[in-house]
Amino acid sequence: MKKITILTFAILGLGLVAFTNHGGGIYKTNTGNINFFSHTSVEDITADNHKVKTAFDATSGKIQFSALIKDFEFPKALMQEHFNENYMESTQFPKSTFNGTIENMSVVKTTVDGTYTSKVSGKLTIKDVTKDVSTIGTFTVKSGVVNTKATFTINPEDYNIKIPKTVSGKISREIKITVDADYRHAH
């Protein structure tokens, strides 16, 4: 009887240690940052969104983003207007989403301070057009906060973003997207 009790506690203890080391559960933020940057010899264009909703499941590695297009703020009001009305048609297509996977979730120890990297891949939807994208994500765990940084490029024409010939020299065909979010354990 004593042996069974000791064995039970040992199994429970090991399970607890395994769970604690790996973390598990959902990590979330509603205040993630996404920046996009377009560079041409004529003009640099940049915009920031600080209200990106994103979460990942530390067990399965599932990771999701949802960003409102109208929340991208440009230094110049006119650029912001053109971006929303002419290119993104953001009243009709208000959101951009990403639904993907942190491929090596097991190497990202969400309860152990440190920096980890993993390939992140999934489906990016802009203007109702969905394409596969992948990049390397850097996960920095510090005091329970998991900071995630990732960069990738997209071609606007792949997402049905039509750029008129008159301004085509001002907008790059390689838009750099930078993601930077501080996740906290949700439940």
Binding site: D48, K51, D57, A67, L68, K70, D71, A77, Q92, P94
Partner: protein
Amino acid sequence: MKKPIILIVLFLIIGSVLYAYKMYNKPHTDVASTEAAETVSAEDIFAAFDHDEAAAMIQYADKVITVEGILLSKDLSNELEPQIVLDGNGYDGFIRCGFKPEMLSKIVALEENSPVSIKGICGGMNGSEELDLLADTDVVLSNCTLID
């Protein structure tokens, strides 16, 4: 006769350049000095987006509106844009209001579970039923100011 025509053309060119320059550098909407197009309760605007997002986008998006509701929480996790959250439907629907960093001290002073009145530019509803981790939804306001 030639001179007046040259002068008119010159005047038109200078006018066009000045207008283009002014448009290129026009400032963002100053929410504080802009009269709200509409005043609506947090519950009503959330219900409008929840019921018919496309129609609510046409009604509210890009407009300066005032939203009145109960302050559920302050989200100061992003120093670039301090935010507050109002109750939208008593469960998983919220109004998320973003402020300029210089408003931080005023936001910190707010009391949770108290009524607040917020003026800001509506950007739409964030979150998606198709993304199971992000199933809770927020109607989002930006460049907000507090109404006393």
